[in-house]
Structures are given as structure tokens and as C-alpha cells.
């Protein structure tokens, strides 16, 4: 058992997979010599050499395109797109190429690759370096989307993503890179499409992802300690595939559901989950399903403004309390 930071867990997960399978390769901007701008790939160049760990030019289309070609023909590439926002400049691969290949070729060609990105806000980086882009990725049939919130989940889900036969977008939260957690020794392999109940509770279900997971846990503590409201906090972890069983099971127990999403409101991942709940668990609900999100705005840079925009512990507490007492 070791205490690892979230960023060390990324390197540990990649190293585990590269050691296991020589077809696993890593490419991206500043990932090799510099160890990544978020220092999440430190030591990999030294351990696996320059043929397997590549520094690329600032050429996101070449990064994802090359990853795809390599994946189609036998490698298992892990491609880093430094900030998730930059998926915008290589969106063709996310939208048109990766997810459609298997289907269009009637199963002849797969794209077993992982795209890792630093996702999310909180660092005062402004509107083009802070976005939560889960919903940019989860709308395409054929693409999988994962976002871990703890170091141990980083290792296990990254390993699962690398071994998955389909393309996976792996969203690492920038504001979690410095956080620490226990990670057992030895190989760790998790399962895509599994959510985790992190805290049991009888009164409401909170569905959260990434940085919103620790905030929801804190909010649940406050709601319990100060208001006697018991919240079941679920780390959704994997949006595609989605652990509908776990989510619907919890809603059936609590009768109320809240999503806590960092993305702006329109078409955030929670809207899809709430729609599933409305379809399949309507009669379990004792009140409206409520989405707690960033409002319909781009993220501002100033700290005072960014803190108001992204759901805070306080806002989660207030919205849940208010909604349950209404």
C-alpha cells in the first residue's frame, strides 16, 4: 500500500500497462522529457524509452490521427491531449473517426486507444483551459468516457481503458492532480461501467463526477451533521458505459436524486442520467430530480468569479436542503 497523488497514479497506471504489454505506447506534447505539463507522466521516458514514449509537436490532429492508425493496426496507444479544451482542435477524430470505424467497417476495424486529458476548472485558467467536456464526448455511439476521482480509481480505470477494445476518453481532473490516496501494491485492474457508492444514505442520492465527488462528500457530511439529511454519494466514474443498475438501485432506496455537474447546464451529463431516471424510475421518485451545475456561462478567470460559477460545497448543501424541505 502506498500513498500516491492522483498525478502519480496516472504514471503508475500507464507504467503498469506498458510493462504488461509492449504494444502500449504513449504520445503527446511534453509527455516524455518534461514528464507532462501536469507532471502525470514523470519517469515513463526513462523506464520505457523514446520509442514508446513520444514527445510530439503541437499537432493535436496528428496525435489523435496517429494514435488511431496505430490502434487500427495493432498497437494500444495512449494519447495525451493536454487540456481537454483542446479536443476542439482535433474533434474530427472524437466525433467522426474513432467512434464510427467499427460500425462503418462492419466490425473489421477497431480503435483500441485511450485519449487522456486534463479536464475541469478551479485553477483560474479562464474560459479556454477550464472546461468540463464529458458531454463533448459522451454523445457519440462507439466512444467510451471515463473520469476517476481518486488515485486508486485512476490506476484501475486507466488499466481497464487501455485493455478495452474500444476508444476511451479518460478525463483526469486538473484540480485533483495534487490530491492523495491509498493505492495497493501490485496490479490493479478495475472495470469500466461501474459506479461506486462512496457513502450510504437514506434520504437522497447524489450523483457526482471528478472534482464534484469530494465536494459532494463534504456536502453530505454537512447535510448529515447539521441537518440530519442522509445522502448516498455515488461516484459515477464511467459515463459510457453507464452503471444504470447502481444508480437506479440507489434512487429506488432514497426516492430523491441530485446530480452535481461541473459543466454548464445545457446538456451536461446529468441531463442524460436524469432522463433515464425519469423513464425508468419515475415511480420511485418522491420529488423532482435536481441538477446542480455551473450556470449557462463560459468559465471566468478571476478567482472570485470562478468560485461562484462552479458548484461549491455550500451551494450543494443549500440546494439539497432547500429542495428536500420544499
Amino acid at each position: 500500500m502506498a500513498q500516491l497523488t492522483y498525478r502519480e497514479a496516472v504514471a503508475r497506471g500507464i507504467a503498469q500497462e506498458m510493462a504488461r504489454d509492449e504494444n502500449v505506447v504513449l504520445l503527446g506534447e511534453d509527455v516524455a522529457k518534461a514528464g507532462g505539463v501536469f507532471k502525470a507522466t514523470v519517469g515513463l521516458l526513462e523506464q520505457f524509452g523514446p520509442n514508446r514514449v513520444l514527445d510530439t509537436p503541437i499537432s493535436e490532429q496528428a496525435i489523435l490521427g496517429a494514435a488511431m492508425g496505430a490502434a487500427m493496426t495493432g498497437l494500444r496507444p495512449i494519447a495525451e491531449i493536454m487540456f481537454a479544451d483542446f479536443l476542439g482542435v482535433c474533434y474530427d477524430y472524437i466525433a467522426n473517426e474513432f467512434p464510427k470505424t467499427r460500425y462503418m467497417t462492419n466490425g473489421q476495424v477497431g480503435c483500441p486507444l485511450v485519449v487522456r486529458c486534463g479536464n475541469g476548472g478551479g485553477a483560474r485558467f479562464g474560459a479556454q483551459h477550464s472546461q468540463s467536456v464529458e458531454n463533448w464526448c459522451m454523445q457519440f455511439p462507439g466512444l467510451k468516457v471515463v473520469s476517476p476521482s481518486s488515485p486508486v480509481d485512476v490506476v484501475g480505470l486507466l488499466a481497464a481503458a487501455v485493455r478495452d477494445p474500444d476508444p476511451v476518453v479518460f478525463l483526469e481532473h486538473k484540480s485533483l492532480y495534487a490530491t492523495k490516496g491509498e493505492v495497493p501494491d501490485g496490479e490493479i485492474l478495475d472495470t469500466l461501467g461501474t459506479a461506486k457508492i462512496l457513502r450510504p444514505g437514506r434520504d437522497a442520492t447524489i450523483l457526482a463526477l471528478g472534482l464534484m465527488v469530494p465536494r459532494s462528500l463534504q456536502a453530505a457530511d454537512v447535510l448529515w451533521a447539521e441537518h440530519g439529511i442522509g445522502c448516498e454519494v455515488i461516484d459515477v466514474r464511467s459515463l459510457v458505459p453507464l452503471d444504470t443498475q447502481c444508480i437506479l438501485g440507489s434512487v429506488a432506496r432514497t426516492g430523491r436524486v441530485f446530480t452535481v455537474e461541473e459543466n454548464p447546464r445545457q446538456l451536461g451529463w446529468g441531463s442524460e442520467l436524469v432522463s433515464i431516471i425519469a423513464d425508468e424510475a419515475f415511480y420511485d421518485l418522491d420529488g423532482p430530480a435536481v441538477r446542480i451545475t455551473t450556470p449557462n456561462i463560459p468559465l471566468p478567470a478571476a478567482d472570485a468569479l470562478e468560485d461562484l460559477a462552479i458548484p461549491s460545497v455550500n451551494r450543494i448543501v443549500e440546494m439539497i436542503r432547500h429542495s428536500l424541505s420544499a
Binding site: 506534447e29 511534453d30 522529457k33 518534461a34 505539463v37 514527445d55 510530439t56 509537436p57 503541437i58 499537432s59 493535436e60 490532429q61 479544451d85 483542446f86 476542439g88 482542435v89 485553477a123 483560474r124 485558467f125 479562464g126 474560459a127 479556454q128 483551459h129 445545457q266 450556470p295 449557462n296 456561462i297 463560459p298 471566468p300 478567470a301 478571476a302 478567482d303 472570485a304 468569479l305 461562484l308 460559477a309
Partner: protein
């Protein structure tokens, strides 16, 4: 591949024909950019500036020489490393520092931040944080000028690293085939983020060696010499205004600080920074002016005046309230708000 780290003098060195007033203007600008960036750096260390920030320390000659050659009405398109280019167009220091500090007196009242400085009234049409994005945008502004018969030129600043993204090549080709009045200024500071540009680029001169592919002249200049930058820009502007099309100018320069605030720049080979500091644009320029007979007191007075300006701006920013919550929801749409449903 290893990058040749010895500072190379510009391969094209135009000379002469700069008025004493213009020279003093360029000195003043370089001192302003130097002191403002140093102040920004100090304010980081005091944790009064949050987030990230990309300084142009060491690259002042490009911003000063280019701005000195521009007319009011010409348009600047900058990157996240845009403080210097923004200040060089006359945007007050207080507004820039205020924006970096997230204060109500900031250029965009904190909504944009360090990477997105924009001041339309000064011709600063934005700072873009997605590498390469603004090259095609500058083409569009130049296309408008051509279409409307306006005489302004669009100037697009970017780094060596940006030449490896598709948008660079698309913009160059588009501008060249439509003969657009746009000047592309590639500030080659030898590094993309932490990776030497030579490690990831097929040619030695990321800008200059690509020019031929778009039918443009290969222009590689000493970007640490404001006079050289100025004279090269003057020619490029004349060409653009005469309807002869775009130019691509590679300026050889070096950033004295790390890529951004998080970067201690440990990847630099020993001695490289020192060698470039010997060619510090501000000191070189000052020595040149003194050799040309400008009194040291005249230059000292400029230094002191700038120092006062920066101090006053800092005080004003420290006294300014932090940006107010009510602007969180404004200006998402043209109706002023963020509402998308009734």
C-alpha cells in the same frame, strides 16, 4: 536533434532610416514591457495574481518594434503570451495588471484573465489560448479590410510551436492565395512549452523555412533588436497596404522566464539563459542609443517615469475591489445576459 542554442544574429538585417523620436519611443516601450512583466511576476510571488500567466521577459523587442511600426487602426491578434503586445498598443498598465489580479478595474473585469487580454479600442482584437486559433481569425480580419477597401493591416503574433499545428498552414495558404493584408509574426523563442522546438520540427527555422511552401519570402530576423524588427515590419506593412499580400516574419528571440508561472524551466541547457541575457534586448537598445549620443539622463528619466507608472498602476489595482459578482452572468449573449430559455 539538438537545437543550436547559440544566439544567431538575424540573417536579414535591414538598417538605417529610423528617426530619433521613433528610437526613443521603442526604448520607452521596451522598458515599459520589461517593468510591467517584472511587476506581474512579483505580484505572482505575492500571490496577488492567481491562475497562470505567460511572460514576455526577453522578447520585448518584438512587441516594441512591431507596435512602433503599426498605425492606429491596425489590428493585433495575440496569444496567451499577450501582455506585452497588449501594452505595446497603448493599453494602460493598470487595466492589464487589474485583469491579471481579477480586479474590477481590469481590462475585462476579470472575466478573461491573463490569457485573453483584449482591447478593441486599441486595436487589440484578442489573445487566444488555443494554439494556432488566431491565425485564420487574423486572415478573416484582413479579408474584411480587403473587401471593404480599408487600409488597416492585421498582425498576428505566435510562437515557434504554433507552426506545427494545422491552422498555421491553412492560414498561410489562405492568406497567400488571397493576397490578404496580414503580417504573421513568429516569435521563435526555441521552445514550445517545455520541449525544444528543434526536437519536434522537421526544419531548422519553423517559420522561415515554411514560407516558401506558400510562395512567400523567407524572412528570419534578429528578434532581440527592436530596430531590425521595426524596419522589417515597416516593409511588411507597406507590402500589405499595397495589396501585395501577407508576410511571414520569424523573429529569433528567447524568453528569460519559464513558459508559464508553473515552470521553473529546468529543461534549459546550462549557460543558455546567460548567453541570451548577454543579448538582452533592453540593454542592447539602451547601449545603442547612448552610442548614438542620447544622454544617459534622458534614458534614466524614461526608466523613472515608467517605474512611476507601474507603481501607480499597482497601487490602483491593490486598492481596487475584487471583481463584482453581478458580472458573472452578463454578456453571454448579445442581449447582455445568459438566459437561454423562458
Amino acid at each position: 536533434m539538438t537545437q543550436k542554442t547559440r544566439p544567431t544574429a538575424g540573417e536579414t538585417v535591414p538598417t538605417g532610416g529610423i528617426s530619433p523620436d521613433k528610437r526613443l519611443e521603442m526604448y520607452r516601450l521596451q522598458v515599459l514591457l520589461r517593468q510591467a512583466e517584472q511587476r506581474a511576476y512579483d505580484l505572482f510571488l505575492e500571490n496577488k495574481i492567481k491562475g497562470t500567466s505567460h511572460l514576455s521577459l526577453g522578447q520585448e523587442a518584438v512587441a516594441a518594434g512591431a507596435a512602433a511600426a503599426m498605425r492606429p487602426g491596425d489590428l493585433s491578434f495575440c496569444t496567451y503570451r499577450g501582455h506585452a503586445h497588449t501594452l505595446a498598443r497603448g493599453v494602460p498598465v493598470e487595466k492589464v495588471l487589474g485583469e491579471l489580479m481579477g480586479r474590477d478595474n481590469g481590462l475585462m473585469r476579470g472575466k478573461g484573465g491573463s490569457m485573453h487580454l483584449t482591447s478593441v479600442e486599441h486595436g487589440v482584437m484578442g489573445s487566444y489560448a488555443i494554439v494556432g486559433a488566431h491565425l485564420p481569425i487574423a486572415c478573416g480580419a484582413a479579408w474584411r479590410a480587403q473587401y471593404k477597401g480599408d487600409s488597416d493591416v492585421s498582425v498576428c503574433f505566435f510562437g515557434d510551436g504554433a507552426t506545427n499545428i494545422g491552422a498555421f498552414h491553412e492560414a498561410l495558404n489562405f492568406a497567400a492565395c488571397r493576397k490578404l493584408p496580414v503580417v504573421f509574426v513568429c516569435e521563435n523563442n526555441l521552445y514550445m512549452e517545455y520541449t525544444p522546438i528543434a526536437d519536434v520540427t522537421a526544419v531548422k527555422h519553423p517559420g522561415g523555412d515554411r514560407a516558401g511552401a506558400y510562395g512567400l519570402e523567407r524572412i528570419v530576423i534578429d528578434g532581440n533588436d527592436a530596430d531590425v524588427v521595426y524596419l522589417t515590419m515597416v516593409k511588411a506593412f507597406a507590402r500589405a497596404r499595397a495589396g501585395e499580400g501577407p508576410s511571414l516574419i520569424e523573429c529569433l528571440t528567447y524568453r528569460h522566464s519559464g513558459h508559464s508561472r508553473a515552470d521553473p524551466a529546468k529543461y534549459r541547457p546550462p549557460g543558455e539563459l546567460d548567453r541570451w541575457k548577454e543579448r538582452d534586448p533592453v540593454s542592447i537598445y539602451r547601449r545603442r542609443l547612448e552610442t548614438q549620443g542620447v544622454a544617459a539622463e534622458t534614458l534614466d528619466a524614461i526608466d523613472a517615469e515608467i517605474h512611476r507608472i507601474i507603481d501607480d498602476a499597482t497601487k490602483a489595482c491593490e486598492a481596487a475591489p475584487s471583481t463584482s459578482a453581478d458580472i458573472l452572468f452578463t454578456d453571454v449573449y448579445a442581449d447582455g445576459g445568459c438566459s437561454w430559455r423562458n
